[in-house]
Symmetry: C2
Subunit: 195 residues, 2 copies
């Protein structure tokens, strides 16, 4: 892996991001040095600055990229006018999407305080957009009598916290398949908000 000379711009860039993702998730942003990231990629520390202006940008790009992908993936889901069907879709989508990106999810929840104020504002706005998508589903269900939730935004936070918690214990090699996990959580989410 270690090398002494060479030119690899097209592959090094993604590898820097991957290494940062893995190391930030494992040890935390503040505990990881640029030298560690460089070591994982197989270059010297100075070479990283061809791909990022600084360490902060590396973190911001990972977090903003994750939120952009999340919102883009949610946007491709077929629209449903039935609130109950929409809630089921959101629940299953959230579990499936987050289970595939545990490192990015972990960073996005743990490293918010290490974002510069300006970067924090950007990421926070994207997060709020996602939360509001669920809150709107709940409001529609209240309006048509399917749901009974006095505070849709609070209920949305509660549901998202519950669903994201899957990542703290679910392992692919574990006893339960992801489909079984989906069923368990969907049953709980459905009951928790229905009238």
């Amino acid at each position: 892996m270690a090398r002494t000379q060479g030119s690899h711009s097209d592959i090094t860039g993604p590898r820097v991001r991957e290494a940062a993702l893995t190391l930030f998730a494992r040890h935390g942003y503040a505990a990881v040095s640029m030298r560690q990231i460089a070591g994982e990629v197989g270059v010297q520390a100075g070479a990283l600055y061809n791909y990022t202006p600084d360490k902060q940008s590396l973190l911001f790009d990972l977090m903003k990229g994750h939120m952009d992908e999340l919102l883009a993936a949610w946007a491709t889901q077929p629209k449903t006018s039935n609130p109950l069907a929409a809630l089921e879709q959101f629940t299953r989508f959230h579990i499936r999407f987050h289970s595939k990106r545990p490192e990015a999810v972990f960073i996005s929840y743990m490293e918010l305080r290490n974002l510069s104020p300006g970067n924090f504002t950007v990421v926070e706005k994207l997060r709020r957009t996602y939360e509001d998508a669920l809150a709107d589903i709940l409001r529609a269900g209240v309006a048509n009598g399917a749901f009974n939730v006095p505070e849709p935004k609070v209920a949305a936070m509660a549901v998202i916290a519950m669903l994201t918690g899957v990542n703290t214990w679910y392992r692919e090699a574990g006893r339960l398949s992801l489909s079984e996990v989906e069923e368990i959580y969907w049953a709980m989410v459905r009951k928790s908000v229905t009238a």
Copy 2:
């Protein structure tokens, strides 16, 4: 605050812990230096080592102390044989206890990966004890027909994740009182597991 000489063992010890709690919660364990903690207390960095053998012990003491207090407080709650009443008690207890210690809760969830392996094992065992208390309540409710949850341990994780999420958005000065928050979450928890 700054001083040049003196002897204050009986008050400095707690102040070191308080400063570490506040700073670790705000910036993260890895991002906080012993000099910062000393500065907050009003002593020089070297003086901290009269109160802790090292930085890691400071983190461990905060996290183990928090889990010990949590389990001790839960142990003082009156015993209830009715699973539904026990679940309501757990729900309200969890929200109230955690809302009073946002910094310790934050550290206990965010800094697990910064514990040494041995310290992690200790804290993790205490956490599992707390999770099992809720799982046992759910199993009792399944046994007497009050609840319908196919996987009590998974449901316990789901409920705890939902309840702990309150700390991410609840503020004392906000629109909703803690009692109102308790009602909202208790309604959701109750419905999510009832038959």
